[in-house]
């Protein structure tokens, strides 16, 4: 698990977000077949400041490099959207991006 790409754009008070998280999303069975270690994201948390705007608990049956699109209200241009990912090994990766 590693990098993520975040795009966030505000228009008329609604922030549209496209985010891609790099991960193999390989659950036990798939990992066995490919002879790799199981690795998938289990928890995604998106925040703006102190406020949670996106929260998902995922399993290895999301597609590889999960691309998530969503929108939320209550943020403005220049605010920072931060994502925190947790994988099945308990590793956490964070990244943030300014809302355009």
């Amino acid at each position: 698990m590693g990098k993520m790409k975040i795009k966030a754009k505000e228009k008329d008070g609604v922030v549209k977000v496209k985010a891609m998280f790099k991960s193999l999303m390989a659950d036990t069975e798939e990992a066995e077949k490919k002879k790799i270690e199981a690795e998938y994201i289990t928890y995604i948390l998106g925040t703006v400041g102190e406020k949670v705007v996106f929260e998902a608990t995922t399993s290895g049956f999301m597609a590889e490099n999960p691309l998530v699109k969503f929108s939320f209200t209550g943020a403005k241009k220049g605010d920072e959207l931060a994502f925190a990912l947790t994988d099945n090994h308990g590793k956490t990766v964070t990244d943030k991006k300014k809302i355009k």
Binding site: M25, A26, D27, T28, E29, E30, K33, K34, T42, Y43, L45, T47, E50, K51, V52, V53, F54, E55, A56, T57, T58, S59, F61, M62, A63, E64, P66, L67, V68, K69, F70, S71, F72, T73, G74, T86
Partner: protein, 152 residues
Amino acid sequence: MERRKFLNLGLVAAAAVLAPMTNLHAVNFRETKPDAWKAEKSADAIKAMFGDGELKTTDKIKFVAPKLAENGGSIPITLSTDLDIETIALFQDANPRAATVVFSVPEGQKVDYSFRIKMRQTAVVTIVAKAKDGTLYTLAKEIDVSIGGCGG
């Protein structure tokens, strides 16, 4: 200041600091509902996740998915609704375990999610959404998969 009053003040301050923290990390369903992630069948997973409540079929939730998925490794799904939803989850019967993703909708936000899932064979995909008032909504769709995902 009396000692008792001083201690009380400290408690109030601590609670005020802690309150936004707990709000920030709402629910990690893998920790709170571990059984739901091990269930093989959608029905069992739904029961473990949402309890025994009655499931109401609805058409108020928009669930967009291809009828025939050419690539089972990446099936685009879109979920959106105007209902006041607290939690929305996706289950499928194609993979070794049914639970795929659970979104906790933050306070005041609407459901509008697009993402992709993997399915190794043709199966029924079930969406279950829990409204703020506790009602459980459900809808299901069969997706034909021509080439399996999940390395199959």
